[in-house]
């Protein structure tokens, strides 16, 4: 759950100010085009923005927090082009709800400056095993190939994964 006082971090992450959401017309065009409609009921990105605007708590099982695909359909449809997926992502990160997969991704970036897929697979092997991904392996053979990680020079090294609950192991 993200509490009222923690909303500031969402504003900080997205670069939006609270008052930026006051322009929302409540037209719910975003809700009518949202991809998550195909996955869950009562999906309404506008409601998430309003919670941030008025300072209400956001539950961590909110359908958008769980399933938003960053498709940007809402942004394109919104009269103000509000970048809702980036708001959702900021909420998700401040809730410490990143999955092990997402964490492995960032860790790889921290180590090598690039995502080294074999590392991400190794870090998430248990999830892949338990999640029933093995049956896709025949179809995924074309994606496999051996290469060593390549460490690149960084100008500004990335900070370690952060959030209100950086040690949270991810719940999805």
């Amino acid at each position: 759950m993200i509490k009222e006082k923690d909303h500031e971090i969402v504003f900080k992450y997205t670069g939006y100010r609270r008052e930026d959401f006051s322009v929302c017309l409540g037209c719910k065009i975003c809700a009518s085009v949202c991809t998550v409609n195909d996955l869950a009921q009562n999906v309404n990105p506008q409601e998430l923005l309003m919670k941030l605007f008025v300072g209400e708590k956001i539950e961590d099982d909110h359908p958008l927090v769980r399933y938003c695909t960053s498709c940007y359909r809402c942004t394109t449809a919104c009269p103000w082009q509000i970048r809702i997926p980036e708001v959702v992502r900021a909420v998700k990160e401040s809730l410490g709800m990143e999955s092990r997969f997402e964490k492995a991704f960032k860790k790889s970036l921290n180590i090598w400056g690039r995502v080294y897929e074999p590392f991400v697979v190794a870090m998430t092997a248990l999830d892949l095993l338990k999640g029933g991904y093995i049956k896709y392996m025949p179809k995924w053979m074309g994606y496999a190939g051996f290469h060593l990680p390549h460490k690149v020079k960084r100008i500004k090294p990335t900070s370690a994964p952060k959030g209100l609950n950086p040690s949270g192991e991810g719940r999805s």
Binding site: T69, R114, W140, V152, T158
Partner: protein, 227 residues
Amino acid sequence: MMEYGYYPGCSLTGSAKRLDQGVRQLCKKLGHILTEIPDWNCCGALEYGDRNELVSISGENLEKARGMCKEIVVPCPACYKNLKDADPDRSFNILSPLELLSVENLSQIQQKRDLKGQVFFPYYGCLLMRPEGNSIKNRNIMEDVISAFGGEVNGENMKDRCCGGNQLFLNKWATEKLSTLILGKTKGTVVVFCPFCHMAMKTFAEGRKVIYLTDLLLYVMGENNSL
């Protein structure tokens, strides 16, 4: 002949190696020279909640490219979006390889085969089409290419729907549902340009081929022996 900077992005060094090879081969055929940005780093994909951090990660690549090139070819749609987001003043021209193609320049290529009698579903997904202002210029380029070589096209109203690719390792049922919806309303070989879409479609398409547009073009040019 044109010279471009090239930003492959992480997946093109691994699971989407095929797209990398295809783009390089195709550009060579079209007479373009691609020079990789030295020590390019990951673009951050869709994994960062902090926009400043994301822009800084992608911006670093632009700093590495500065002085070397003004035009950067970026095949992966997530990298394409992030590099554009990191360059609000448009001091670089960030280009998808799709933007190097036009029916005119394709008419100059040596065509060895055609696509007559074959049905295709050109599928763009999200980040080549959205957010607005970031999208590729010709939003029908894949249809133009396929039609130019005699292929039949379908699925216009599904071409920019979301496959749910970025949920594949989080909630695979969600990706399955979204991809299956798209597949159910279209027919023929699925032609993509995004590594996420390729993986999602490949995983859930039963009995349908999933290829990159580069595979299709190289086939027409007589390079690949089959689609």
